[in-house]
Amino acid sequence: MALNRDDKSPLFAPGVAGTLRLIVYLALACVLMVLDHRGGWLANVRYGLSILVEPVYRIAGLPSQGFQAATVAFADRQRLTEQNQRLREDLLLANAKLNRMASVAEQNQRLKELLDTQHSLSLNVQLARLIGVDLGSFRHRIVLNVGARDKVKPGQVVIDARGVMGQIVEVMPTTSVAMLITDPNHAIPVTVERSGLRTIAYGSRAGDMLTLPNIPVSADVQVGDKLVTSGLGGRFPPGFPVGEVRDVAQTPSGTFLSAQAKPAADLDRSEDVLLLHDLAEVDGPPAPAPNVGPPASLAPDPNAPQPTLPSVTSPTATPLPARSATAATPTGTAR
């Protein structure tokens, strides 16, 4: 091996200039981190630099894509036939269920119209594919191949065939990043399906489980209970499966029960996911209507001469909009 001789690195005497430069760079990095942590403008920078970043994601996703293509190409006929058969059966079953559900759904629709509620069973979704990119280990995030050009917005809910996967946290022009429900920084309001108990499921630091750390001791929670989204908080629509309770134990302090749940969605296997378009209905009072009172055209003209006689006018206020839920900002429990 050729020795690269240089005079700049003496064996034992380190330079002062190097240390100074180190301090400057470290300080710069710290400033960047603090600014980013406080202001969150990394997203803006990344949005601006997405021309650079997105092709890299696509290229970095190629190996895993190629791996999948290879497994399909080299899978033996037997297995593919079996898989095909199984999918056929699933489809048949699902169709049969759907046919039976159709009449029920219609009836439900009619009843709901009678009750004048806004809920509907139909889903407004968009299909997205995962891009196989590793955003750092112990970071429960996935990259999807849809972005701002496909009208994706932060906060949209990501689901797969089995349940809730997470929500969009960052949008770039043609890709977006979603946070999984198992992220330690994520929380999702849930209901225990059997007993109706409302609580919150957090991601866990160990990875593929959810923790429900504060259930009252008297509450009725058992192993095997299904968790569904409760719709509170206005981010996740109600009724989607979240997970299944696997373990219930008392917290060390004894004041609460703490449960572990396994996510219903295939967090590490799903390739195709769905993005929900309509967010949950925001609870709480509707936002104040922006213009209450008589319309501006009825306002007295300050330049007009005062009428000599007091004229009697009937105030014609604009009617309050019945529901302005969309105007209210969701009080999300995203983080």
Binding site: P10, G18, L22, L26, D36, L135, S137, R141, R205
Partner: protein, 163 residues
């Protein structure tokens, strides 16, 4: 001049490839075993041609990695700068180490890097990571001889080729 350019290109290409390797996912259960590629490649260049690797370069590579990673801008910049500083300071001695000692030194660098990352994350309000968090430096150290020999071999070949 052509020779210089080829070498520059090779230098830039290895750094870019290390960033790609960082982004490419490993199959599920192997994920915690993924070594920190940019650090390994940067360490190689530190030892092989220390005049080309400066703190500024480490900082820029770190910022680029942060942009791709999208976690916290400046996190990897800080880690890589600190690591390159230590590596450059002990460079003359490290180069004369036998391979197994070099591997141990790399293990030290990578563990130090993990501790830094842990500090940053805990300051940022994240919970403590699971025990698998500490596997990656050992994998990196185990891979070090191979990384070193492969990169060295490729470099030698390039030089012969262009001569």
């Amino acid at each position: 001049m052509n020779k210089v350019r080829v070498r520059q290109l090779w230098f830039a290409a290895t750094l870019l490839i290390s960033l790609f390797l960082m982004l490419i996912p490993l199959p599920g259960p192997l994920t915690p075993f993924k070594p920190y590629w940019p650090a390994l490649v940067l360490l190689y260049w530190c030892l092989q041609s220390g005049d080309r690797v400066t703190l500024g370069l480490a900082f820029c590579l770190g910022v680029a990695a942060d942009l791709f990673d999208g976690i916290l801008l400046g996190e990897q910049a800080l880690r890589l700068t600190a690591m390159v500083f230590i590596a450059l300071r002990f460079r003359s001695r490290l180069r004369f180490f036998p391979m197994w000692q070099q591997s141990l030194a790399v293990l030290g660098f990578l563990l130090n890097d993990r501790i830094l990352l842990l500090l940053i994350r805990v300051f940022g309000g994240d919970p403590l990571p699971p025990p698998e968090y500490w596997i990656s430096p050992f994998v990196g150290a185990a891979l070090w001889p191979f990384v070193f020999l492969i990169l060295d071999d490729l470099r030698a070949r390039l030089r012969i080729h262009e001569a």
